[in-house]
Amino acid sequence: MKIHHLRTTLFSGAKGPDWLLWVMVVALMSLFTAPCGAAAAEFYLRAAATTMVMPTGEQVTVWGFAKDSSFGAKDGVVTVPGPVLELPPGDTTLVIHLDNDLPEPVSIMVKGLVGSMTPVRLPDGRIRALNKEAQPGNSEPVTYTWTNVHPGTMMYQSASHLSVQVQMGLYGAVVAKADTGRAYDTDPSRYDSEVLLVLGEIDPDLHQAVASGNFGPGKAVTSAIGYRPKYFFINGRSYTPGVYEPAGHPGQRVLVRIVNACLTQRSLVFGGRYVLEIGDGGFPLPFPPQHFAVFIAAGGTKDVIIESAPAGDLPVWDERLGLTNGGLTDGGIFTYLRFQ
């Protein structure tokens, strides 16, 4: 923690020729922080491939993140979306150590958190990654640190090869808690209970091309321009009968944190009830509107409050109609919030 404090000081004072010095300090610091062990908001993420079974039975190779206990332990489970990275109240520092078991370089960014980005370029000068990368099979973790984390619901994702790696599954939620039973430093954002909904989608053909090495210059598929998702998910699952998300007790103020990792906007309806939109992209909205349909931008997040729901299962669906499982109808981005 002492080192983090030092870094913050340098950070705010960094300008002009000090900058190079600062880079050197950060580089050195990365070496020291890595073996320090688990702080509250320190995570060991591993990017790796796994298989997801689609509701049609189709097996699709996806790329996801696992939360390991330490670098090299490889004891986490690779999931899509990746594990939730939760920051306890008052913790403004987030550290991610990245391990890469994928065949191409991977990097991490958290949307909405300001931090130094160190792009990686292709030989022709194009940016391949928005941030420093972990190479396949890296022997040391690549460490990312943010010291300015504010409360909110954010999305982390790969910052490498964006056209491919996000839709392959390299994304997840960052939940930074405020310390007062509120999502933000605003009164309407107070809540009793919370639930997280991460929206996603899969184009099995593009996954197949990437997983089988048929994506790239001169190969069968050379770009993602033909992307056509066929499966739609909440928290990595298409609608499955009998499955619900515990939301809270009847009558409580329930905070729903929504992360949209789809490559299109979505419009969520909560059984036709009004919800209060209190946050967008990890920032509080100044005058929360009441809506019965909630727009979430592609790659965006929203926080909404459900007030006074009665006991029972409140259906949630996507009015943009990502409600199918491949050719099968009546599935997709649909679930229940259970109040009991």
Binding site: K111, V114, G115, L263, D280, A297, G300
Partner: protein, 395 residues
């Protein structure tokens, strides 16, 4: 060779036709323009005259593919007898950026130079000043409710610029075709608040000469140091090729595959300098989208979308944005409280604009990337690592 001959024939034909009076010829209207070049010859405060051509031309996409376009060219101040030659195959994409000040009297002349590669077409053109408030139909550029200007002739539009903000403009004749083909451009108006006397107290914020604001905010909240107008658009190559080859146009099947910022796909978006098209070597995509600022500066991005097919969402890795205005209107409650908000994404459909400010105080120097979160459009059609993406350099 064929093209040069066509060009020669077209210029000759236009000249002859205007002599006979069958076609109107080039005529610009601008107050106190004594020599007919369409610019005022005395200093008239708040009078702005521009002269555009409407015609065709060629661009080149970031993957090297040549793309036929319809578009506007800038011939402001050019003698009338040179306008046709400059305008023919002189279309730019996006159209020449129009920057105005609140209170201006704006005279915009449009000369239709015809589409050289499509001698079978006799399309009129118009200018639609998109979002212009309280417009009369005659200057709305909507051909269904007013007039379009025919080939070989000029029309002058007049606008009293009463409201600041980020607007846009495009041709509205055969709108789906002419807009898919590229007749789109940036247009914005700077506020009267910029010209307040030095030392004016704006609710505790002291204005100084040289300060620039996005809107008449009354409190300095929209002050910025550097501004960039960035327009989203997208092209369907099949449609453009069909137009060039005089084939039936695939309207229903239109699928845009080049997503562009200011007419270029990445990495051309960050290429400073001209891109010469492959057909007549003109610099027809003159605008890059590389954003430059020094740490501590406030960056104003004037974002608009004129895609005819899609919504696009822009996000910036490692930065966030304050949305201060939408559709040329400051986000402010009726009692003056700010309704601006911070976010990581802005989503625009066709015909929408958004102004965002990025405050770089405390932002580490470096290169940041602004990109479409519809990540399949980070492609130049079949080429990966391209599309709707640009770089923001903080020094």
């Amino acid at each position: 060779m064929k093209r040069d001959l066509l060009l020669f024939l077209a210029v000759t034909a236009f000249s002859l036709l205007s002599l006979t009076g069958a076609w109107g010829g080039v005529m610009v209207q601008c107050p106190e323009d004594l020599d007919g070049d369409g610019v005022s010859d005395v200093d008239l405060p708040h009078v702005v005259c521009r002269h555009l051509t409407g015609g065709d031309g060629f661009t080149v996409m970031a993957d090297g593919r040549s793309m036929y376009i319809f578009g506007f060219g800038d011939v402001t101040g050019m003698p009338a007898d040179q306008v046709l030659e400059s305008g023919i195959l002189g279309a730019q994409f996006p159209a020449p950026t129009i920057v105005l000040d609140e209170g201006d009297d704006f005279y915009l002349t449009l000369t239709n130079v015809g589409m050289l590669m499509r001698p079978d077409l006799f399309d009129p053109h118009t200018v639609h000043f998109h979002g212009f408030p309280e417009v009369a139909s005659i200057f709305d550029g909507l051909p269904e409710s007013s007039v379009g200007i025919n080939m070989g002739s000029s029309i002058t539009y007049y606008y009293h610029i009463a409201v600041p903000g980020t607007f846009m403009y495009h041709c509205h004749a055969e709108a789906t075709e002419h807009m898919q083909m590229g007749m789109l451009g940036n247009l914005y108006v700077r506020p009267a608040q910029n010209s307040l006397p030095d030392g004016t107290d704006l609710k505790g914020f002291i204005h100084h000469t040289g300060y620039k604001y996005a809107y008449n905010d009354g409190d300095g909240s929209t002050r910025y140091d550097v501004e960039y107008a960035i327009q989203m658009s997208s092209f369907d190559p099949e449609f453009h090729d069909a137009d060039l080859n005089v084939q039936p146009l695939p309207f229903a099947d239109m699928r845009d595959k080049y997503a562009l910022l200011n007419g270029r796909g990445y990495p051309d978006t960050v290429l400073q300098g001209p891109i010469l098209n492959k057909v007549n070597g003109r610099n027809s995509q003159p605008l890059d989208s590389l954003v430059h600022a020094r740490q501590g500066q406030r960056i104003l991005l004037r974002l608009s979308n004129l895609s005819v097919t899609r919504y696009y969402t822009l996000s910036i890795g490692g930065l966030y944005m304050k949305v201060i205005a939408k559709d040329a209107k400051l986000l402010q409650a009726s009692d003056g409280r700010p309704m601006s908000y911070d976010t990581t994404t802005v989503t625009l459909g066709g015909g929408e604009s958004v102004d965002v400010i990025i405050d770089t105080a405390g932002v580490p120097p470096g290169t940041y990337v602004m990109y479409a979160t519809q990540a399949q459009y980070l492609s130049n059609n079949e080429e990966d690592y391209g599309g709707m993406m640009t770089e923001i350099v903080i020094e």
